[in-house]
Symmetry: C2
Subunit: 395 residues, 2 copies
């Protein structure tokens, strides 16, 4: 009687990450925090880099007059210009501050973009496995989620995408490096994707936005380079945050960047600014905008994440688990040794190891591990993985 | 082709505050910042109180481990408990942290509340003049805005409200101290309002939420006490922020507080937390949650705002303007000497004084002045008000 029917239904459907969080809390209370090995959350254990602490200290000790006041809803010109300069450097395209809107993280940015572009009933494609919140975000603004599968290597199937695109397709969300798989899309793949979208736009006389969620852009391993998506489709909008690269997830600071040559760019940016305001974000948090302005080239220690990946990946393979080696982000997405991924996650729980079932990402038959945790947690989890592997005769 | 039809339409309809901001920017460029007297924006000129600076310094110099990480979507337990303790003190009701959800300001909180409760087509009442964003917020979540008038003193007309409430009415938004009028509702009025809502709930067998936007609760003059709304209706939800009381509008920190005895309280709070997450706020900014925890009894200098009110109010009355004396917030809403409020605001602009026409708040025939500006700006504006008054023979 009180709560919206849709919200109630979506709450029940729920978040598996959240569910694991709650079950984990019970285990931790029963066995002690140090005896539970929680690989269920993408909440980086690393502190922000020292440069961030310095910037924050500088700002707090020498406050700028009015630095906690409202600014333009798009954010501070200086911060937007700094982001634009960095993107210009990374992409060789000419970004200006007018292509950038500062947002409350990537989650805020995605909601702003979707609200801006979606008419009721228009479709947005996501590729399974995917961050399930995408479905909530699309639904928030009256859109319809179309799920397209990926192949064995978690690369989207372009023939399936081609079949899924209709005259009502308004956007395609990609996320590379990927949550939950850790896969990084190749430049060649992105080129083919952009090419397909361009052809479909011509076929239907529409604009199809490539919405690239790049929250993990800077967390990338093995000397791989991140291939800029902008080069391959003019209707590209990037949403990202400093949650992972500066380890600031609680601070809600990120941005939207639009292709400088996107058609109707000015109206779109006007829409982003309007929706940033009217969805209630108003503006990205002021102090954090100041703090990240000079940190566009700073990133947490990626080598440390790579070491964690190597450690966990090596041990899991040795135990007989089957998985695609992640090249970025801080997740891996092994095959579930049991057909029922929830049953397997429950099995791991018997050994006080917390993971998220693949169905929490639209891909049952897998499970997600997050390794942005302490080495002690990773080391402690091995016994549980080993026992589960032995019980199920993986080797 | 790119932007949503609804967003485009709402952008064109636009915000008068924003329009004045843009026209003001042109004037400032032409005549110099110091020669334009901008009373159009509710962006407090005051710096946050020294206690805030101290808290921030303490946190930055002695960082808590993980203090920039994700926390539960509802916010830190310690911060929620501090807010609950303060509300218990102010209301003599027993709030616990489970009644509190930390939000990205009151704008974020209102969107979260409306998303949580509204089914498509359900109605929410607002009282004109009102903060026009309320209409955008309601529309964001599929609701329908019903505008009910106020009387000459800007007190909502309860007979009109009674006539406006239907079986589809899900909420009534009030804002006291009020933007744009500065009016503070009396306890007697709130009692009558709660009584009416209770009767209508019985009549229709519904729950009607009293959504009390209390962003200006602590900015109140003449020794007036703020009458807690909670006492008068069980289905009350308060949204507020520290934007005004701690002068932190750019930082986006506020909270939702639900009546501890609200029916279906647990499901509602679960909905708030869910919507806080899925609308993309995720959580209120972490550092600001830490910072405001110990500042629940701290407020900027209200005496200083009162001085500004007395100054501007006194001069305007003397010049012949007709207005209700504001008792809180930092706005006044005089009658427009010209029937066409836009024409009068343009008249003021001739003298480099910026105001917002009443139609920007759903009440043509008035204009809004914001006096959270420097004394120099207030003093400088008088010449323009005087010239306009003389030209229109007000005295």
């Amino acid at each position: 009687m009180s709560i919206s029917d849709n919200v109630r239904a979506r709450m029940v459907e729920g978040s598996w990450v959240r569910k694991m969080f709650e079950e984990g809390a019970v285990l931790k209370q029963r066995y002690g925090e140090e005896n539970v090995f929680d690989l269920s959350l993408g909440n980086p254990v690393m502190e922000p880099p020292p440069e961030f602490a310095q910037e924050l200290k500088r700002l707090v000790e020498n406050p700028l007059p009015g630095m906690h006041r409202y600014m333009a809803n798009a954010g501070y010109s200086e911060t937007r210009a700094a982001v634009a300069a960095q993107l210009s450097l990374e992409t060789s395209l000419e970004f200006t501050m007018n292509d950038i809107v500062m947002t409350c993280g990537a989650a805020g940015g995605l909601n702003v973009v979707l609200k801006t572009i979606l008419n009721p009933g228009e479709e947005v494609v996501v590729f399974a496995p995917y961050f399930l919140e995408f479905g909530n975000y699309i639904d928030n603004h009256g859109g319809v989620t179309k799920v397209v599968p990926t192949d064995e290597q978690f690369i989207p199937k372009l023939d399936a995408l081609e079949a899924a695109i209709t005259a009502r397709t308004k956007g395609v969300i990609i996320n590379s490096p990927n949550n939950p798989t850790g896969v990084v899309y190749s430049e060649d793949f992105i080129h083919q994707l952009g090419d397909l979208l361009g052809r479909k736009e011509s076929q239907y006389g529409t604009h199809i936005f490539l919405i690239s969620d790049e929250a993990y852009r800077k967390i990338i391993y093995d000397g791989l380079k991140y291939p800029p998506v902008f080069h391959h489709h003019r209707h590209t909008v990037v949403t990202t945050s400093h949650s992972k690269d500066l380890a600031l997830p609680g601070e809600r600071i990120g941005y939207i960047a639009i292709h400088p040559e996107c058609s109707q760019r000015e109206e779109l940016v006007g829409g982003f600014i309007f929706c940033n305001r009217t969805l209630g974000f108003v503006n990205a948090p002021a102090l954090m905008q100041h703090a990240v302005q000079n940190l566009q080239q700073v990133t947490v220690s990626v080598a440390e994440y790579q070491k964690k990946r190597d450690f966990l990946y090596g041990h899991l393979v040795e135990m007989g688990y089957s998985l695609v080696k992640p090249q970025g982000a801080f997740y891996m997405f092994p095959k579930s040794p049991l057909e029922d991924d929830v049953a397997f996650v429950n099995e791991l729980q018997q050994w006080n190891v917390l993971a998220v079932p693949g169905r929490g990402f639209g891909s049952p038959g897998h499970f997600r591990l997050s390794y942005c945790v302490s080495d002690r947690t990773l080391e402690g989890s091995l016994a549980g993985f080993k026992k589960a592997a032995q019980k199920l005769n993986l080797c």
